[in-house]
């Protein structure tokens, strides 16, 4: 075959159209590529070297000039439709249909680059005005610089030949950054775990606060089931979301305010005007849904003075809640009981000053005063607007401290990307899926791509940080890879987030 071509080329008239006998003979030609052999370092004008070069060149030209010959039965027939820039299949698609093409109006279609690649692979024969298109026609008609131009096609073909599944990137089919945020898998996990553990119908509560609540409620009230109370108290006592969110010990301390044995002396406090009146404990109803059977279906709104400002709480119908809660008695071992007792004592003994607060305003004032009084802290540093980065009296781990004093924070690629103005200089061209996924690849649900390709060349600019951020945002879950086309060579580069390692461990 190769020899035949050679004799042809030596004639003065050369045709690349094969004769019927050549076509027939081509059916049994070899598919092996001759090995190139070791290259030499320097031309020494020797006869052997000249012969080796000639042999290499002959092999090269016979490879290059070889024409594609296929059995008609192995070719898929298709039509080029220039107005829509697609190729419509006229006969059933081959194996390639699993990863390429799409259906539109009941017809099987291929994108131009897919069609061109399949033509080059000898799988597809594309007709236009009843004439088969050559590969050259394909390059000149199918490639369009707005979508997939020559460079993009070079990258496409390179990746396809390596076995990757390559699809055009469609920005509109990607979830927006907002949608992606709502879908964060770890946040979903968290909610699920919490629900399971709490078995309570108030999933909005964070688990840490729920625990704190558990402790405090069981302390104060003789409650049968501590879990049942969490959700229920949430509903009728809006005070709970307002417990100082610092720590659970604060909460248990706070609980003692409701005790009847609260100290009555007020001299040490500058009580607010409403201070004394609101602590009439006979007037404060503290409903216990779990045990009280006499309670009516509705709860009166709590005294607004008991609440920190900004809240209005209406009448609460608890009938439905009572049905939902578990009213069985909690069975505690003696050990557990002792522990509870211990906790209660600690909570009560701890903070006399806090116990003396009579309402929220006072408590908050106390806290502010304490903050100010912290010892070992030069007060003047803290009086002005600019204050030290860290209060030395506050215990903190080394890692946290390092983080706190690093004024210039490290950032990651996606940070602030959504606020950037869009530029059209760069675009993602392809979604790339790994070859080993081909077997169970679904075009309708391709899943997360292995990477997304941008195509550029060495003569063009290097993407700046803004471009990289924007592309990363647009890409979302898959890394963006830059395919740099240098005439025939293609190199792949990627920018990655990097976190400096730290040797401080919490």
């Amino acid at each position: 075959m190769a020899d035949q071509n050679k004799t042809d080329t030596e004639g003065k008239f050369y045709s690349e159209i094969l004769s019927p006998s050549e076509l027939f003979a081509a059916r049994s030609r070899s598919h092996k590529i001759p090995v190139k052999g070791q290259k030499e370092f320097f031309p020494d004008n020797s006869e052997e070297q000249r012969q080796r070069l000639e042999q290499s060149l002959n092999e090269h030209w016979s490879l290059i000039s070889e024409e594609r010959v296929e059995r008609l039965g192995n070719l898929v027939k298709a039509l080029w439709i220039p107005s829509e820039q697609i190729v419509e299949l006229q006969s059933p698609a081959g194996k390639f249909w699993q990863t390429m093409g799409f259906s539109a109006n009941g017809k099987q279609c291929l994108l131009p680059e897919e069609a061109l690649y399949l033509m080059e692979c000898g799988n597809l024969q594309v007709f236009y005005k009843d004439l088969p298109l050559s590969i050259q026609d394909g390059y000149e008609r199918f490639l369009c610089s707005d979508t997939v131009g020559l460079q993009q096609y070079q990258v496409y073909g390179h990746l396809k030949r390596l076995g990757y599944v390559v699809h055009r990137f469609d920005p509109s089919s990607e979830p927006s950054s907002y949608a992606r945020k709502l879908n964060l898998p770890q946040s979903r996990d968290k909610a699920g775990r919490q629900l399971k553990r709490k078995r309570s119908p108030s999933p909005s509560l964070t688990s840490s606060r729920a625990e704190a609540q558990d402790e405090s409620t069981t302390e104060k009230m003789e409650v049968e089931d501590k879990y049942s109370h969490v959700g229920e108290e949430d509903k009728k006592l809006p005070a709970s979301p307002l417990t100082p969110p610092t720590s659970s010990s604060d909460v248990s301390r706070g609980q003692t305010w409701w005790m009847t044995d609260i100290p009555r002396d007020r001299e040490s406090h500058q009580a607010s005007t409403t201070g004394s009146s609101c602590w009439d404990f006979s007037a404060i109803s503290f409903p216990d849904l779990g045990s009280s059977s006499t309670l009516s279906g509705c709860l009166d709104p709590p005294d607004p003075l008991l609440l920190p400002g900004g809240f209005t709480v209406g009448v609460c119908d608890v009938a439905s809640w009572r049905q939902k809660i578990n009213q069985r008695e909690v069975k505690m071992s003696s050990k557990e009981q002792m522990r509870e007792e211990e906790k209660r004592r600690q909570g009560r003994d701890v903070d006399k000053e806090v116990q003396q607060c009579r309402n929220w305003a006072e408590y908050q004032k106390l806290m502010v005063r304490r903050q100010e009084q912290c010892e070992g802290r030069p007060a003047h540093l803290w009086n002005t607007e600019v204050t030290p980065l860290h209060d030395p009296t506050q215990p903190i781990s080394t890692g946290e401290l390092l983080d706190k004093i690093s004024v210039i924070k490290s950032t990651h690629l996606l940070e602030g990307a959504s606020r950037l103005k869009r530029s059209d200089e760069w675009r993602i061209c392809f979604n790339v899926y790994q070859p080993d996924t081909v077997a169970d690849f679904k075009k309708s649900n391709p899943g997360k791509p292995y990477s997304r390709m941008c195509v550029c060349s060495f003569s063009g600019p290097v993407p700046d940080l803004r471009d990289i951020k924007q592309l990363a945002l647009q890409s979302g879950n898959a890394p963006v890879v830059f395919a740099v086309v240098d005439y025939g060579d293609i190199s792949f580069y990627t920018f990655k987030d990097f976190q400096l390692p730290t040797d401080v461990f919490p």
Binding site: T9, K12, Y14, E16, I17, P20, S21, L23, F24, R27, H31, K32, I33, K36, K39, F41, P43, Q49, R52, L53, L57, H60, W61, L63, I64, S65, E66, E67, R68, V69, E70, R71, L72, G73, L75, Y117, M119, E120, C121, G122, Q125, K129, D130, L131, P132, S134, I135, Q136, D137, Y139, E140, G149, G157, R161, G163, D486, Y487, G488, D489, S491
Partner: protein, 280 residues
């Protein structure tokens, strides 16, 4: 490498301003002038690999310019000129028909030959089992019953567009037309001066983007020889950060190549080689 004089005119077809060569003789012609280019297409014989690629051949801008200066290249007409489509279609249909007829004759001969081979080999093996009569009968039956299925027809998927002048006369016409495009951009001029000088000295050049330079310089055909140099093209008055020089020199030594800083002067191109000494 039989050189004709004057060098044959090669037909460039532009694909989004990229100069591509499609015809095998054109590829040979430019190679015989020491221009390598870059192959872009899938190799027909084994399309699904990247080790060896096939037509088309993309020319570097410098290669295109050199050919143009030697009046050895002409741009081919655009594909949009669909003239003669009707004739072409008719021609194509006739060719297909002829193809089918001739191939079915060839296929029948092929079958007969293999039948003959099988029969004679069984004849020699089993002694006198079958006779000439049998053989003739078989062949006649084959003649009567043989039909060449359409699906078995071998067809060509042409690489090059049909209907364009393959003969020298058509090329002469193209040459007379001389539809070459304007290429010059002053920034590329440095590169071109260097390219032309090195090519004039017998070196083969390819693009060296992956080595951080402008050209890879080969002492002979890249098919048989390793590149010796990485050429970095700079105007004489252009300044280059020292770190860049060091980086490219170090990279060159890592791939066992010498870095050449090439600057076209008024009379000739000046070359400076940079090598990392490797001393510690």
């Amino acid at each position: 490498m039989e050189e004709e004089d004057p060098p044959p005119v090669v037909g460039l077809s532009l694909c989004h301003s990229a100069p591509l060569l499609w015809r095998a003789p054109d590829l040979r012609a430019v190679r015989s002038q020491g221009l390598v280019g870059a192959l872009l297409g899938s190799l027909p014989r084994t399309p699904r690999q990247n080790g060896r690629l096939g037509r088309p051949l993309l020319l570097l801008p410098e290669e295109e310019r050199l050919l143009t200066e030697h009046r050895a290249a002409a741009a081919l007409p655009d594909h949009d000129q669909d003239r003669g489509w009707v004739e072409l279609r008719q021609q194509h249909e006739e060719e297909q028909q002829r193809n089918f007829e001739e191939q079915s004759v060839l296929a029948l001969e092929d079958r007969k030959a293999s039948l003959l081979r099988a029969m004679t080999s069984s004849l020699t093996q089993s002694g006198a089992g079958t006779t000439d009569e049998d053989l003739r009968g078989h062949l006649e039956a084959l003649d009567r019953n043989f039909s060449f299925p359409c699906a078995a027809l071998a067809v060509q998927l042409s690489t090059t567009r049909a209907g364009l002048g393959y003969c020298p006369e058509a090329r002469a016409l193209l040459l007379a037309d001389w539809p070459m495009r304007e290429l010059d951009a002053p920034s590329c001029d440095t590169r071109y001066q260097v390219f032309r000088d090195l090519r004039g000295r017998g070196f083969y050049l390819t693009s060296a983007g992956k080595f951080g330079g402008d050209f890879l310089v080969y002492p002979g055909d890249p098919l048989r020889f390793h590149a010796h140099f990485i050429a970095v093209c700079l105007a004489l008055d252009e300044s280059l950060p020292l770190l860049d020089v060091l980086a490219v020199a170090r990279l060159g030594s890592n791939v066992k190549k010498t870095v050449l800083l090439c600057s076209p002067g008024t009379d000739r191109v000046r070359y400076t080689s940079v090598q990392w000494s490797g001393m510690v």
